[in-house]
């Protein structure tokens, strides 16, 4: 089927989407020539900066979470492709407020390559930067092989926690420790029911039969654990939640953050139904849902499906999640 998207020249997709985004949220963010989305009002001196990078086409991620209490700068690449190391280096320098910078990187091949090069350059220039890699897709491989696991929507709560810690004036080592602790205690699993079209090439990103779903699908349509027949909301939620709870070894008495993230073409109606079942099962098991979010934060064009994310929280993390933030796509007052 031919691509049906409201676009202009595919070469200008990213510059045009960033232009619109900047006009829409002029009070909170601005966009620089090198594809950096930065806070309109820079962070106070003496606080740790938080920077991330990633391909475009996942809106509102990642740049939707730039603002007070979350990210200082997001470096946006082309569609599904990491930005260049020079732009990332520029971002690390721009985010420096005298307390160092945390560089959050999602585990995807291009992102990691660009980030590693950036870190080499930053080291040569003597910048005070610590890198934090997110890899929580439990479909990628066992917990003992984190490098096999992709970075999915878990980056969003992670930005929230480290952003709040940075805003509270914590040191770079402390901010890193909080981020690292959450990273080790989070797990995400994705399911897809229909493919998406790559907006620059017009090609379908993968194939799925009308009556099938694939659990473990990556956010670019990378293959997961195999196709199965489409199941009901409750069955799907139960299957995925069971895999996540097992992976994280969640016990009765634990408190969790739960996120249901729509991939682009799945309705909020469906996401609420899924969340309802997840909440019921967790409550039955004596696991507390301390924090939760149902939203389209990290999308894959018009892919139908969702990512289910859980993270085990300490009381301190609950406070950081509830701390004020003011970004275009997440606000806590």
């Amino acid at each position: 089927m031919a691509m049906k998207k409201f676009i202009n020249d595919p070469d200008n997709l990213v510059s045009e989407l960033l232009e619109g985004y900047a006009l829409l949220h002029a009070g909170k963010i601005r966009v620089t020539g090198s594809g950096m989305v930065v806070r309109a009002k820079p962070k106070d001196e003496g606080k740790v900066g938080v920077v991330t990078l990633g391909g475009s086409g996942h809106e509102p991620a990642l740049s939707g979470f730039v603002g007070e209490g979350m990210l200082d700068i997001s470096v946006a690449g082309e569609i599904f492709a990491a930005p260049g190391a020079p732009a990332c280096l520029e971002a690390l320098k721009a985010a420096e407020r005298g307390a160092g910078v945390l560089f959050v990187v999602l585990n995807h091949p291009g992102d990691v390559l660009a980030a590693n090069l950036t870190m080499e350059m930053a080291e040569k220039e003597g910048l005070n930067v610590k890198q934090l890699l997110t890899h929580e897709d439990i479909a990628g491989g066992p917990r003992s092989e984190p490098e096999q696991r992709r970075g999915l929507v878990g980056c969003i709560p992670l930005y929230k926690l480290v952003g709040a810690a940075a805003e509270a004036g914590r040191s770079l080592d402390e901010v890193l420790a909080i981020g690292d602790a959450y990273e080790r205690n989070m797990a995400t699993l994705a399911v897809a029911v229909t493919s998406a079209t790559h907006p620059a090439t017009g090609e379908a990103m993968f194939e799925l039969a009308d009556d099938e779903m694939e659990i473990g699908m990556g956010q670019h349509g990378e293959a997961g654990t195999g196709c199965t027949k489409l199941k009901s909301a409750d069955e799907t939620a139960e299957t995925m939640l069971e895999m996540l709870l097992k992976d994280l070894n969640v016990q009765s008495g634990d408190q969790l953050l739960v996120m249901i993230n729509g991939s682009g073409a799945t309705t909020l109606m469906e996401l609420f139904i899924i969340f309802r079942r997840v909440h019921q099962v967790l409550t039955e098991k004596g696991v507390k849902v301390a924090c939760s979010r149902v939203a389209e934060d990290l999308t894959v064009q018009e892919m139908a499906g969702f990512q289910m994310h859980i993270g085990r929280l300490t009381d301190e993390m609950v406070d950081l999640w509830n701390a004020p933030c003011d970004t275009p796509f997440m606000t806590v007052r």
Binding site: A82, A114, E222, A223
Partner: protein, 215 residues
């Protein structure tokens, strides 16, 4: 034939590579659509636009300078893995060419070996993993072997381009172990790796570019 590669010869090689890749970008995207996300041709075309602009803007007449500028421009183009890997390739060449006005055949081999080393520092991919390494290693080894036989740079580059082409073709029967393609497992069999194919095009472009202006 050219006995040495000076600034003008290097510029011809660079432009030759850009022309070759640019005319084939749709083919590269088709390969990538089969085993990746279909944007490799677009990323390479963007990288080559940056290459051509960097060459045009560089007026130093210095080999290392133009290679370094090209490398930095390709890094800046981003494009996922494309920018870092191809960018460091040219920056590695540039470092090896520092302080040299011209490269004889042996120095050209050294420069390509440095480029390969720079790329291998960035990726853990080994030959057989269905990546650009499968074309780059034979190209650089082929060039070195040709130089050892006493061939001049133009002939050695032809040899390198042939080796890269064979290397790229050999990836067709390999199972991807790196990049986004890794997750597709057996579905990657039967399609050559787009990155390896790009390396093959670049070396063919180097050879053609040098030959085109040779007397």
């Amino acid at each position: 034939m050219a006995e040495t590669i000076g600034y003008d010869e290097m510029v011809r090689m660079l432009r030759g590579a850009a022309e070759k890749v640019t005319t084939q970008h749709e083919m590269l995207s088709k390969l990538d659509a089969a085993i990746g996300d279909g944007d490799h041709g677009t990323a390479m075309r963007r990288a080559m636009v940056c290459l051509v602009k960097a060459v045009a803007d560089n007026r130093s007449r210095d080999l290392a300078s133009v290679l370094n500028d090209v490398g930095w421009a390709i890094l800046s183009a981003g494009g996922g893995s494309t920018g870092p890997l191809f960018g460091t390739f040219f920056m590695g060449m540039g470092e090896a060419a520092a302080e040299r006005a011209t490269l004889d055949a042996a120095a050209l081999a050294e420069a390509f070996e440095a480029a390969l080393a720079a790329v291998r520092k960035q990726t853990k991919a080994e030959p057989g993993d269905k990546t650009m390494i499968d074309a780059l290693v034979p190209a650089v080894e082929g060039l070195r072997a040709a130089v050892e036989e006493g061939l001049d740079p133009a002939e050695a580059l032809e040899r390198a381009a042939d080796a890269a082409q064979q290397g790229a073709a050999s990836t067709k029967d390999m199972l991807a172990r790196f990049g986004k393609a890794k997750n597709l497992g057996r579905r990657t069999l039967g399609t050559p790796d787009p990155g390896a194919t790009s390396v093959s095009l670049i070396f063919r472009g180097f050879a053609d570019g040098l030959a085109a202006g040779g007397t």
